[in-house]
Amino acid sequence: MPGDVESIFIAAIVSWILFVSIDILFGLPKTGGVSGAREIAGEIEREGGSLHGGYMMGNIVCSPDASAGTLLAACGVYIAGIPGGLAAAALVYVGNRICHDPGYAGTTGALAATFVIYGFTTIGFSAAHFIAGMVIAILTIQGISHIHASRLLARLWGWRS
């Protein structure tokens, strides 16, 4: 049984892989879903980053995507187990519609994360580890270096397309 710090570190890696793969599967780096996301991508490109990575970062800012789904599912599982995670998925669905997002990346991310996080709670992890882990995971994408994060996302998108 790993300690809290190790568990949070593992949860951050699992959350990162989960939300990045679902977002890329749903084609978030392809183009900006709304004009605001395209504006953010353009700004990141002007800064020296990559346009397609910027589209994904803009889409994450402008509508709840798989990363938001993972965070809210972790909150839901922490408070109320699987029903809490499913409630979070329903709220993410409503959030997507409010933000004029026609996609299902957020809802899919929340549903997938609910079961992944519940699975991890059966082997000694706490959903609290995943809340902190997801906050660390989003920090690495949106909060450290937009230039390097967008280039990394563009490279991952290049493998898929």
Binding site: I40, V61, G95, H100, M134, L139
Partner: protein, 88 residues
Amino acid sequence: MEVITTQEIAILICVAIAVFSAVRVIAERNTVRKLPFLNVLSFAVAGSLALLLPNPLAILAAAAYFVGTTLESNAIASTHAGGLKKDE
């Protein structure tokens, strides 16, 4: 002896990241470039909210807060892109 619980460690991490991203939001001059940092701040605050208030309604509060800030960022970025002329 265990002096700090799992919940407390998770809250500490969320709060530390919230403060860090708040400083980045303040330090960044360009409005559009502030938005990804603001997004991290929203994640950290929504996470802290659920950790501090383990009550079923906290899921609703965290989701409502998160979707609200996302919609605000969306509106700020769309305004910079030229508003309603390009899309609804």
